[in-house]
Symmetry: C2
Subunit: 477 residues, 2 copies
């Protein structure tokens, strides 16, 4: 059991062969203890209770897509019976109900193991802005785990759970994926309900999925995605099972003048190798001027949207300033000098920049960017808690402001052994398209999954289907 | 020539029979002088220059849809060669180019006569918030002309021009139509370019059309509507020529508890008579709870959007407070106490209310409301410059916040002889559908056009077409 691979296919095979889910639950908790990292989970479900829930699933039911699948939940997403803290003990509350998305996953047979650590209030891309112990990066304890969904990413990378929920406003569902050699799927805004989720920037937030493989992440996405009429920002996003990419794909990439690696030549080489892989699979790579995208990215923390965070924790900061992490407090406090007119000026600027990006996006099927420009160590963050964090958002901050969907996918390791990672981005509703192309990248080069020694499974057998516009598309869920 | 009807059909017939456009121009200027109202136009084009422009059109060309058609332009929309003041002399500038929409109309052969008065910076629904003489209501000089597009509405109602451009944020393209017995077409947001238009609330503004008949308004709409890539809020709105309404139409109307006439029983009776007319034409009238729509309406001036106006004139108010009308200054000044967080709280509230209206709108084809709840006199506004203005927006303020298109259409006069008016509203892109149903209402009862003695022309001969979703729809322009 110790060598049981925690992928959906592997677990299903084990279940079909007679493995019991309470045995899997026991193995999950054994791995948690073996990891010896108190920073991953902020709250664990009671092991006996999860085992009982597993037994209550009854006999193996292949029709329940996540039957007996263990998963973890970022601690800004409600799970009934566990507190929600958003990594701020003073903010904690005890939700009566599961978040909408958690409930859907459980209905499909998945088992909640516990709640994971995060940059407090999901403000940060580093994973160190927490009053709890910082989770260790699953591959290299010297580098940051990435955030804000730090615990969820590490739990998946260490093979403790099959998948985990994160959230993603600025890149919190992608940056930690890149830093831990796993997949981070950031859905189209509104595809996942925000009911039962602590908002960061309510107009830009989404729940996200971490998994070891694209296929696993996408399956969890299909189960979790559903229109929630109680979420005013929910949208009816059409998703279909993973299919083969269309025969001809145009992939826009930042031109040489737009690329930013902050001196990391190895990361640049890794990015170029990834693009060559895409071309080798038949994609056409098109260089684009990325300046409007960079300009949008800079608006996220410089512009009005930080005021959204203030609507969530402004009262807490005023009442108990010391209850909030000092870096978080400094960032969110900037909102206090922003007027409503400033907010509208920000929207006008964003509208102008969006218009600039439209012809670029019209001419391609998707974008491909590095997920992160480089790696930062815990020591780097101690020396400068802001700068490295900002730079980690270089290729992620613009994505939700432009209403793109994205998937960060591990690819061939860098020459120095650090994980390679690329992100594919496309217009809202194209989650399936980018996931299908992501399967090309995860099959690139010798690699194991996350921080495990588990091999990359064979490429999924994807049916060729007609272009999305030409076929009827089923709504998942 | 004095009795020449200024409708598109009548003028085209005259042109086809040999009438010269410079003769029509001379008649326009004669009517302006005869009107004896210095409040209608803030700036007139030089008569000789317009006559020369008319002669330069060459021989009559039936293929130019607005060949020789005189029109007026609200003075917050640029016309090259005339100042743009937005009814604030201190704000005036001299644009080098026509606004995008004006340019399209001129390319189609239309002739700009002059720039019309307005509530300063398009802030108001009454027409009296201007430092210039207040235009007289075309029907009754005791009542307000309505605003903010006061001069444009009066110029059309008096038969001075065939159509006029207004703008509409809160109802400025509809309220003056109701008060002057003409049609006010408020397009889907983004259908008309905002390039060359002084913003009021940039996210909610649209240029609008006044005309004597639905057919004339819709023809001008089809000419003017076009995607403008330079306007970040421009949208690709598909419009098709006016067609017969589909055989079955469900029209939502406020239920008895939601109706607000502020004691005006005659207006209530007029509204009910209009609904009976709709039913007589085959529509199904469905009563709905209008509270969410009223709640949205209240947000327009109570909520964050007033900060948009502040982005336009905040600097002017700070520099030269006396240059701004005191009522306008007081309204826009409210923005100074609104934070960016307040703005986002407003958006969240709007999103929740929008979600509440969605099932209502899903169950009907369009809404029908009174354009105005009652009439107010100049004396009423002198006694209270704010209250009557707010009440005039009862059935208009929510429309752009909910991204609806609308058309205000005159209908059978009230029992006391005041003009009857209804507004039809539908989701973005349904401009043609509501215009087609509006033709039923303008044919209701004995009536003349605007303030003229011209008869209502026979109903246009509308082709029956399949539902919009089932046919290929051509983009106008």
């Amino acid at each position: 059991m110790h060598d049981q691979i925690f992928s959906l296919d592997a677990l299903r095979s084990a279940y079909a062969a007679g493995r019991r889910p309470d045995e899997v639950v026991a193995e999950v908790f054994r791995r948690i203890r073996a990891a010896g990292d108190p920073g991953i989970f902020l709250h664990l479900n009671d092991e006996a209770a999860v085992a009982a829930e597993a037994r209550a699933l009854g006999p193996y039911d292949a029709d329940r897509p996540l039957w007996g699948i263990p998963f973890a939940v970022k601690d800004n997403i409600d799970v009934a019976g566990l507190p929600t803290t958003a990594a701020c003990p003073a903010y904690a509350y005890h939700p009566a109900r599961d978040a909408f998305t958690v409930a859907r996953l459980r209905e499909a047979g998945a088992l909640v193991i516990g709640k994971t650590n995060l940059d407090q209030f999901a403000t940060g891309l580093v994973g160190v802005r927490t009053p709890y112990p910082v989770p260790r990066n699953a591959l290299d304890p010297e580098i940051v785990p990435g955030g804000s969904s730090s615990g969820s990413a590490v739990a998946v990378a260490r093979g403790i759970v099959c998948f985990a929920l994160g959230t993603d406003t600025a890149g919190s569902g992608r940056v930690p994926a890149a830093l831990n050699n796993i997949v981070g799927l950031k859905p189209t805004l509104g595809a996942f309900s925000a009911t039962g989720v602590v908002p960061a920037c309510r107009t830009l937030d989404t729940v996200s999925i971490f998994a070891l493989t694209v296929a696993d992440a996408f399956e969890a996405f299909c189960v979790a995605a559903a229109f929630d009429p109680d979420d005013a920002y929910g949208r009816k996003v059409r998703v279909s099972p993973l299919a083969a990419p269309p025969p001809s794909i145009r992939v826009g990439v930042p031109d040489a003048a737009s690329l930013r690696f902050f001196g990391d030549k190895v990361q640049e080489a890794s990015f170029r190798a990834g693009l060559a892989r895409l071309e080798g699979c038949g994609a056409t790579v098109v260089e684009i001027d990325f300046q409007p995208f960079h300009a949008v990215a800079e608006m996220l923390y410089e512009g009005a949207w930080v005021a959204e965070r203030h609507t969530v924790i402004g009262d807490l900061i005023a009442r108990s300033p010391d209850a909030v992490h000092p870096v978080t407090r400094a960032i969110v406090g900037k909102a206090e000098s922003l007027s409503a007119a400033d907010a509208f000026r920000g929207f006008y600027r964003l509208a102008d920049l969006r218009r600039e990006t439209e012809p670029v996006l019209d001419a391609i099927d998707m974008l491909c960017v590095p997920t992160i420009p480089t790696f930062y160590s815990l020591a780097d963050l101690e020396a400068d808690p802001i700068g490295p964090n900002s730079r980690l958002g270089t290729y992620t901050n613009f994505v939700n402001l432009l209403d793109l969907c994205g998937i960060s996918v591990p690819t061939m390791p860098r020459d120095d052994g650090r994980p390679g990672s690329l992100t594919l981005l496309a217009r809202a509703g194209q989650d399936g398209l980018i996931a299908s192309v992501a399967t090309w990248l995860e099959q690139f080069g010798p690699r194991t999954l996350g921080a495990t020694q588990w091999p990359v499974p064979a490429a999924p057998d994807l049916r060729a289907v007609a272009q999305a516009d030409e076929v009827e598309i089923a709504v998942c869920g």
